[in-house]
């Protein structure tokens, strides 16, 4: 799909959703539900929970469409933030197990480029982010991945990587500062 055309359709459909148009919410759903379901599934690893969260996500879109500002954020970014936050809330509620298998940064594959199936939908911003992630130390990359894709907390990550909590906080905070500096270069 033409990403720009998609973006303009989404911006319009979200504005109409803000006005109470159910068909417009359905348009938003058609354009974005597969992506947002993938995001929820990645964090929750549970289909039934992810379906519940997806339902919450679009109810939130229905209620909050009026505050979306297309001059401030892209519509996909706004929607993915809602989906991630709802999925993390659900994970923190603790009814389902979170991913806790050990992470060994030495044997982890360094931050990989997107898989073949997702490369077509990856944008320029994704490529820049990967270029900057590749400049981080392996253990930093592994920690950020565990947080972003598995929804792990500092405590979870300290346990999975076998380091003290303070060390994990240092790694992640330093990595985020390096990432920001790289992206702004």
């Amino acid at each position: 799909m033409d990403l720009d055309a998609n973006r303009s359709l989404l911006v319009t459909a979200i504005a109409q959703t803000a006005a109470g148009d159910r068909a417009a919410l359905q348009t938003v759903y058609r354009l974005t539900s597969a992506k947002l379901f993938g995001v929820c599934l990645r964090i929750l690893s549970d289909r039934a929970e992810s379906e519940d969260v997806l339902q919450e996500v679009y109810l939130t879109v229905w209620n909050k469409a009026g505050v979306f500002d297309p001059g401030r954020a892209s519509p996909m970014s706004w929607l993915i933030a809602i989906a991630r936050n709802k999925a993390i809330d659900r994970l923190r509620a603790g009814r389902i197990g979170r991913r806790m298998d050990p992470i060994d940064a030495a044997t982890e594959v360094p931050d990989a480029a997107p898989s073949a199936e997702t490369v077509l939908q990856s944008g320029e911003e994704n490529r820049r982010l990967h270029a900057c992630l590749a400049g981080l130390e392996r253990r930093e990359q592994a920690a950020l991945r565990g947080a972003f894709f598995d929804g792990n907390t500092y405590e979870d990550l300290a346990q999975r990587m076998g380091v003290p909590l303070g060390t994990m906080k240092s790694w992640i905070r330093r990595a985020m500062q390096k990432l920001k500096a790289c992206l702004e270069r």
Partner: protein, 232 residues
Amino acid sequence: MSDINDHSGPPNDDLLAAEYVLGVLAQAERLAVERRVAREPAFADLVVSWEARLLPWADDIAAVAPPRDVWERIAATLPVRTVRTAEKPNGMAFWRGWAIGSSALAAASLAALLFVLSNPAPRPLTAALDGGGHRHFVATLDPQRAQMLVMPAAFAATAERVPELWLIAPGDKPRSLGLLNAERAVSIAIPANLRTQANAQAVLAVSLEPPGGSKTGAPTGPVIAQGKLTNL
């Protein structure tokens, strides 16, 4: 961050926003961050900036089609909503009309709702008004009510000139639809003599005009953006 080697103490606001967006905070800390986002615009800006930096990582996640019944569950549970007019106080009569219609829908049975949704009124038209590599405005036209809503996107205002919207039907000269606003959505009633021309064959254009708009009835300043009306 005074000491680059010690990152284990309380983070500054920018790092706190980063931690929130990365998803690494425990729930109590997440809720505290969300309360600040709701109250402190400057802090909310930090979160939005981190979302712009990090969320493109989600491109790596493969899309997975949800089961068909998820949409039905959503449609069945959409609450009746009171219309929020306070957020966008200007020119919202058109949307208010739609929203009242939707409240009535919500009160109807689900069966009736599905019937209505499958037999919709004429679909709205939309136009993305682009120029110079930027999206300046997004226009949406409700053909049934002959009302157009034009939202600013990346349009940057200047003090000297104002954006004016033009409707151009095939073979016709530009007809003014009125002035736009860089700060807020503007609702425009399509004049009766132009209603049949405001269709999917027409183009919308934005020119920069002196304050008050073009005095000649035709664009006098540069056309900075245009876009075709298309069915949504």
